[in-house]
């Protein structure tokens, strides 16, 4: 990409909604979600280089009624390993 595309308001709406809905379901506020996200990143990035831009956190309702937290963390490159 040569230029940064400005995020459209439709996408903003979609992302906000996703966050709101997942915190609605989990019963915790967006602030706490954000904090948790940052702490998890902090821990993981001690060991691996993560792509913070492409991070995705969400709650999922499984068909059996149980909820799970899904974290999709793209890895840039494992730390300490060199490519030759």
């Amino acid at each position: 990409m040569w230029f940064m595309k400005k995020k459209s308001s439709g996408d903003v709406a979609k992302n906000r909604l996703k966050l709101v809905l997942s915190s609605d379901k989990a019963g915790c506020s967006p602030e706490i979600m954000e904090q948790m996200k940052n702490e998890i990143i902090e821990v993981i990035s001690k060991y691996i280089d993560v792509d913070t831009e492409g991070l995705e956190f969400k709650f999922r309702n499984a068909s059996d009624g149980s909820n799970s937290l899904l974290a999709n963390i793209p890895i840039k490159e494992a730390k300490g390993r060199r490519r030759y």
Binding site: S9, G10, D11, A13, K14, L21
Partner: protein
């Protein structure tokens, strides 16, 4: 044996009543025997949208309280002989009817009609509980706005908790121009967030305003919203109808040359 379909949304003003009127009229157009039930006690609307307000003698509360027989309260539509309305009471409140009474009523109507369409009031209180009590399936109506989608999500959760067998989504009042410019969530965005089956997308259409003013649902007309509602009816009946291209312009030449994708 008929099917009871509840039309619900959580948020007010997204088009539940318009959807009820159009889906009901559309199914009647497709030769099904249909009855519409307005469960918004105290704030009735479906009668004016259908243009039947001047025929009301008895209402839903009269039926459940036994002041009249069901048949006496059913109002035959102006245009279709196989379409009826059971209006709500204007001068009572929601507690006048219980979910158990609604279930009994729906079960009774199932013997007589192919489809019973229940217009649900906004909110998640008593009126909502009444509306879904006897329903076999639900149509959740939302607009592509954060507030409406969030409420729709809550409603879907409640419907699932009440073991609703089938829940379908209608995205109403979609503005194609805004979706194109990126300033409105698309129907697939909404579908992705709510993760239930999308049964129809109705474009924002000024013809709806005109039809509501006249008290004649526009389903089946060649207005875009009219086509969209008819497609929803066919899908409700189990037909596999492809989603129409809302971006296409109306008219002969555009039909021939307009589409590029």
């Amino acid at each position: 044996m008929g099917e009871v379909i509840v039309v619900t949304s959580g948020k007010g003003g997204v088009g539940k009543t318009t959807t009820t009127a159009n889906v009901g009229t559309g199914l009647a157009k497709l030769d099904k025997k249909v009855v519409l039930i307005d469960t918004d006690i105290g704030l009735r609307n479906l009668d004016v949208v259908m243009g039947l307000e001047n025929r009301i003698v008895y209402n839903l509360v009269d039926v459940v309280e036994g002041n009249c027989r069901i048949k006496q309260a059913l109002i035959k539509d102006k245009r279709y002989n196989n379409l009826y309305l059971l209006p709500s009471a204007q001068t009572r409140d929601k507690s006048a009817v219980t979910p158990e009474q609604m279930k009994v009523l729906c079960d009774e109507l199932k013997n007589e009609f192919d489809y019973i369409i229940v217009d649900c009031p906004a909110g998640i209180e008593q009126g909502f509980k009444n509306a879904i009590a006897g329903a076999d399936r639900a149509l959740v109506v939302t607009t592509p706005e954060v507030s409406a989608v969030r409420d729709a999500d809550r409603i879907i959760g409640l419907l699932e908790a009440n073991e609703m067998k089938k829940i379908d989504l209608i995205v109403n009042r979609l503005r194609v121009d805004l979706v194109k410019s990126g300033d409105m969530m698309s129907s697939s965005d909404v579908e992705e967030i709510l993760a239930i089956n999308l049964i129809g997308v109705v474009p924002d259409d000024e013809n709806i305003v005109v039809s509501t003013n006249q008290g004649e649902p526009l389903v089946g007309s060649d207005a875009k919203a009219g086509i969209a509602y008819m497609n929803i009816c066919k899908r409700i009946m189990g037909e596999d109808v492809p989603f129409m291209d809302l971006t296409a312009k109306k008219g002969f030449f555009s039909k021939l040359f307009g589409k590029k994708n």
